[in-house]
């Protein structure tokens, strides 16, 4: 195997020193001359017709520069795809959820803007609310979304393999229902943006955006302006986890207010607004039936799932497909039938959250697998090993697995958690749970889907890299700098990270699904090769060589096999600049053209390359008196191909796991019967703290992905997918109580214990 000098090393993050000194500027930190402050008036109702909005008093308040409502926008709906354009910048005819923004104010300071909100009078006609999937599907249910004449936002149905035969061949069949709650995304930086409009009408938006080009496209559509009329620049972003892809009322309102006033407008939310009214994860109601042979080998799976997703589709159609698609993997399932529905409701809008809906699918299937293992007396580790997908595997739905390190992941996780020893002597109230998962390295979606990177060579020999992928904390910038350095034969310090700016960076489809390392990573390599090719052509004649013979290593440019016949990198760069007058740019792009655009409705197609794998083992302690669960230790056997930066990868794996431990145990966004959110503050909405999170260990299982940059796979989100079932299974292992409804609260545990003892 090739040894790398920069790739595979845990180099310091490019932004670590900036962030640790407080010099990283996030959207809320920005200012501009003449800047106004914006605030948003929110709906007290979850569902209501807007009869009238009177803004006259607010407008008359000294210091108020403008007040807008949904009517100040062109009324053009936008959405993830042409068939699901079902949202407006701000509502016009009705409100759809508690806390939805109905009007916005720009004023000279925040206090004045706040005061103006109190002067806006909105007349509503209250409408009946649709809270649950059951409400949404009830005959005669009120319609939630004005652009759709049904509460079914999307459906995905598929059947792969011979399901009937699979169940016939089964020695044992088990069917169970599972459900999950509404959870908030939970990044710490609230939504914020600064919008400016120049005298030609061109907009500059600097926001806390995970996928700025998704925001940009949707905004230009809904504002009815060409893309070139808006520039979007990303400052530092305080976490995304799929909660910051699309434009929100925050962004639209800031832009519109800036257009009207001709002054910069900044809007920064307070976190209670985020918890009440912004992106959450869909609630799930699922039923799974599994068939297995006597040894535990899966023969067939049948699954139904309804996701309750709030008043807009967002990325929901993809979620409902993803849930079914990832039941196909990481276990070998020859036949699978799936029926999924996404329904509208009057709760907060959903996008997705870290790990996408694989998180929920995996909670169901790995819980069910554990139950099967218990029923048949099969060891939990063996059960997973026997079903683990190997390399060169084609899933029932057509997903192709090139390289799988899952068996080793399972082996390592069980070894490090001490599974075998734990079976010999079981400690009271202690248990170990397992779950596996697979996560793709970025799916191919419709529309623009490629990744591109540009390298700008400076006269001093350093290289500035810009790419469409955006740094939101996950560390992608560092990873691209490492890859560029490796490919150019330069030290890591020679690569400087540029700014994400739609005027200069080449666009990207977005920062989701573990795609950055893989897609932009390949584009980085392509860009570096392009730069080398240009430089080789300039240098070769003076070395009496052909350009193809030129190599780049250790800051040297030389003829292959003859390191002495060459020159320093800097000399080569100067040759380009001073002798040829040739400023050099390397350009590269990458797109997985050989994979399919999956039909979300039928599930057909090979969705992705670079499936990463994980096996998670979590040790828990359950207090029988209080029902409290303590997470003691978690071990992740993680196959992310070639880790580009092992320490950063560990941080991603641990972070996803801690995040989902909140989903498993503590977090739930609660709604009253009128659809009002009850716990929209961190006092009442409990995200895991350092005391809640267990001690984490990551075991890297090195594999080499044939399509990935340097053999890497996308990384980071798999642990989100494997954590919840591992916790649920650990709790069962500890006290013999199975909870299938998330979150697993002490009340549910105590009730379960009581029922068990009553038996």
């Amino acid at each position: 195997m090739k040894t790398y000098s920069v790739v595979g090393k845990s180099v310091e993050r490019t932004d670590a020193r900036i962030k640790v000194t407080g010099q990283a500027y996030y959207a809320g930190d920005l200012t501009a001359p003449g800047m106004l402050h914006g605030k948003i008036l929110r709906s007290p109702l979850a569902h209501g017709r807007i009869l009238n909005i009177d803004t006259s008093k607010a407008k008359a308040l000294p210091g108020v520069m403008a007040v807008i409502t949904g009517r100040d926008f062109p009324g053009i709906p936008f959405g993830t795809r042409p068939d699901i354009r079902d949202q407006l910048p701000m509502p016009i005819t009705k409100v759809h959820h508690f806390g939805e923004g109905v009007a916005a104010v720009a004023a000279v300071d925040e206090d004045t803007a706040e005061e103006a909100l109190d002067l806006i009078k909105v007349d509503y006609e209250e409408l009946p609310v649709v809270l649950t999937a059951e409400d949404a599907l009830a005959p005669g249910a009120p319609l939630v979304n004005e652009f759709k004449n049904s509460n079914i936002a999307y459906a995905s149905d598929f059947m792969f393999g011979d399901v009937e035969k699979g169940f016939k061949e089964a020695y044992y069949i088990k069917e169970e229902k599972f459900s999950s709650q509404r959870v908030s995304v939970g990044f710490i930086e609230p939504h914020a943006c600064l919008a400016q409009v120049d005298s030609t009408g061109r907009i500059l938006l600097q926001g806390s955006k995970q996928s700025p080009y998704i925001t940009w496209r949707h905004m230009c559509r809904a504002l009815d302006i060409p893309l070139s009329k808006m520039r979007i620049v990303n400052p530092f972003v305080g976490g995304g986890f799929s909660g910051k892809h699309d434009p929100f009322d925050v962004d639209f309102a800031a832009v519109r207010l800036a257009q009207i006033t001709g002054r910069p407008v900044k809007i920064v939310l307070n976190y209670d607004e985020v918890l009440a009214a912004y992106r959450q994860r869909n609630a799930m109601d699922a039923k799974l039936r599994i068939g297995v042979k006597k040894n535990g080998e899966i023969t067939a799976l049948y699954a139904e799932n309804i996701l309750e997703g709030g008043p807009i589709s967002g990325i929901g159609p993809f979620n409902i497909y993803y849930f079914g698609a990832f039941l196909n993997i990481p276990y070998k399932i020859p036949a699978i039938e799936y029926h999924g529905k996404l329904v509208y409701s009057n709760r907060a809008p959903c996008g997705t959250v870290r790990g996408q809906e694989i998180v929920l699918a995996q909670f169901c299937i790995d819980s069910l697998l554990h139950m099967v293992g218990e029923d048949l007396g099969i060891d939990q580790v063996e059960l997973r090993a026997i079903n683990a997908v190997p390399s060169n595997w084609v899933c029932a739905n057509g997903i192709v697995v090139d390289v799988s390190g899952l068996s080793e992941c399972i082996e390592k996780a069980s070894e490090k958690i001490g599974w075998k020893e734990s079976r010999k002597e079981k400690k009271e109230g202690r248990g170990i749970g397992f779950s596996c998962a697979s996560h793709p390295s970025g799916p191919r979606l419709g529309g623009h889907f490629g990744s591109a990177v540009m390298l700008k060579l400076l006269e001093d020999g350093q290289v500035i890299i810009t790419q469409g992928a955006t740094e939101i904390g996950q560390g992608s910038n560092t990873v691209f700098c490492q890859m560029a350095a490796e490919e150019l034969g330069l030290p890591f310090e020679y690569i400087i990270q540029g700014v994400s700016d739609s005027d200069t960076t080449i666009f990207d489809s977005g920062m989701f699904g573990d795609r950055a390392t893989y897609w932009d990573g390949n584009a980085t390599i392509a860009a570096a090769r392009d730069l080398k090719k240009q430089l080789a052509e300039i240098v070769a004649p003076s070395l009496n060589a052909k350009p193809e013979e030129i190599e780049f290593e250790n800051k040297r440019v030389f003829v292959r096999g003859e390191p002495a016949r060459g020159m320093d990198w800097l000399q080569a760069v100067r040759k380009a600049y001073y002798e040829k007058g040739a400023p050099l740019y390397g350009r590269g792009n990458w797109a997985a053209l050989d994979i399919d655009i999956v039909d979300w409705k039928t599930g057909k197609g090979n969705l992705v390359h670079g499936l990463d794998f994980i096996a998670t083992a979590i040790e828990v302690a359950v207090d029988r008196e209080t029902g409290q669960v303590e997470l003691i230790k978690a071990v992740h056997g993680d196959d992310a191909g070639q880790p580009i930066n092992p320490a950063m990868l560990e941080g991603q794996v641990n972070g996803g796991s801690a995040h989902m431990s909140g989903h498993a145990l503590w977090e739930e966004s609660l709604y009253d019967e009128k659809g009002r959110v009850l716990n929209y503050s961190w006092r009442d909405y409990k995200q895991p703290t350092a005391m809640d999170a267990p001690e984490y260990h990551v075991e890297h299982i090195h594999t080499h992905d044939p399509y990935g940059p340097f053999g890497a796979k996308g990384a980071g989100e798999a642990s989100s997918c494997s954590t919840i079932a591992a916790i649920a299974n650990g709790i069962y292992d500890a006290i013999g109580v199975r909870i299938k409804e998330l979150p697993i609260t002490p009340e549910k545990i105590l009730k379960g214990l009581k029922e068990k003892e009553g038996k």
């Binding site: 020193r17 900036i18 640790v20 000194t21 710490i188 976190y271 641990n654 796991s657 961190w682 350092a690």
Partner: protein, 155 residues
Amino acid sequence: MKQDITLKVNGIEYHLSIEPQRTLVEVLRDTLGLTGTKKSCNEGECGACTVLMDDKPVASCLVLAVSAQGKEITTIEGLAKDTKLHPVQEAFVKKTAIQCGFCTPGMVMVAKAFLAENPKPTPAQVRKAISGNLCRCTGYQQIVDAIMAAAEANT
């Protein structure tokens, strides 16, 4: 009605005229431009706004600026000496304890104050010390490792 106050931040005295209801985080960020201190929940729940007041960590969103007079206030901007990072900062960098970085200033301030009082902590004590600071990115492990490493570097 504005009030004249004197605040000492990172060793520098500032004479300011502010409204008495302004919190310390607002004055630090909006008046002094020290935006390294972050604000998120504005109610003492996330720890992002943590600064030191006479070496004790406080949620600066819960402190009125007027009541911070006469105290030594230290913010994240006041830790490094030129380009030399404070040992806690250095440990956060070296141990990969930073991802999005939004929680980082608050975490570093808490860690600094904690280590000053507890130079040889256990990981469990470290976890308790930072339990008022939310981080969604890291899962806390590398933050705990960093604080332990900073403690070790000091002994």
